[in-house]
Amino acid sequence: MNRHIVVLSLLVLGGVMTTTAFIMAFFFTPPVLGPAVTNEAGRILGYQPLFSQKIFYFHVPVALASFLVFFFTAYYGVRFLMTKEKQYDTRARIATEVTLLFVILTMATGILWTRFEWGRWWVWEPRLTTYFIMTLLVIAYFVLRNSIEDEERRATYAAVFGIIAFIDAPISFAITRIIPSSVHPVVLRSGGGLTGSQLAAFLIGLFGMLMIGYALYQTRVREELAHDRLEAVKAALEG
């Protein structure tokens, strides 16, 4: 089957899956319960449903996707340093570009949740801080690239920087477990925390987002290849 059709199919399937997760999250999964609601005598009448938790069904998938795509920045960085082939530098750059998109979306959706739940736009707690550092590192990757003229030197520095920058991703992922006092919720943990329908909606959203990430990456690779081809054709015409 044509590669482009496979990529487009993954993109559509990812869109369908994330939309399905959205519908499941709002209409079928039970709400997560927050603080107890008591009467004047102090008797618990029930628990406050946390509607804002619905952000979780697309905030966490896009955050996990950002970690995974960022891994490919480091992976292709290593491949470039081993082979010095330009294609790996291009692939690392595209992976970082998709990471940047996902990081911005993670920050935007997370900040809205923080504003509602914690009453503030930003809290300097470990998860948010380490993720903010990752955002700055991703931006710095492009600043570094744009500041070096020589193509090979740029690719080498970017590869090294990408590998070092990626170290922050597992730290950011694990920080809520390393520092248990963190106020950020720990969603993925042993012993549950999610009911069957919540987990199903989350996993469907996660795999959908990963498919979208892969399709975006491949589409950008296709664009870069088309760009190289265009340059080659132009050179042939001029020569």
Binding site: F51, I55, L105, A108, W113, F116
Partner: protein, 62 residues
């Protein structure tokens, strides 16, 4: 929809703008990014096809 869920949702209206805002930001950004990428790919491939046709007419091989 489950009637209990429907009842519960009437208690959580204040969170709706934040949840809807987060969802809208996510999808608008993704759709715009995908649209722009596919549009650029389309233009590039059209340009390549036109230039390759011109090369063929000139009889230049690549």
């Amino acid at each position: 929809m489950d009637p209990v869920l429907q009842e519960i949702y009437t208690l959580v209206v204040p969170a709706i703008p934040y949840v809807a805002g987060a969802y809208a930001i996510l999808w608008v950004a993704l759709v715009v990014y995908i649209g722009m990428t596919y549009s650029r790919v389309g233009h590039l491939e059209k340009e390549i096809a036109a230039l390759e046709e011109s090369l063929e007419r000139r009889g230049v091989g690549m």
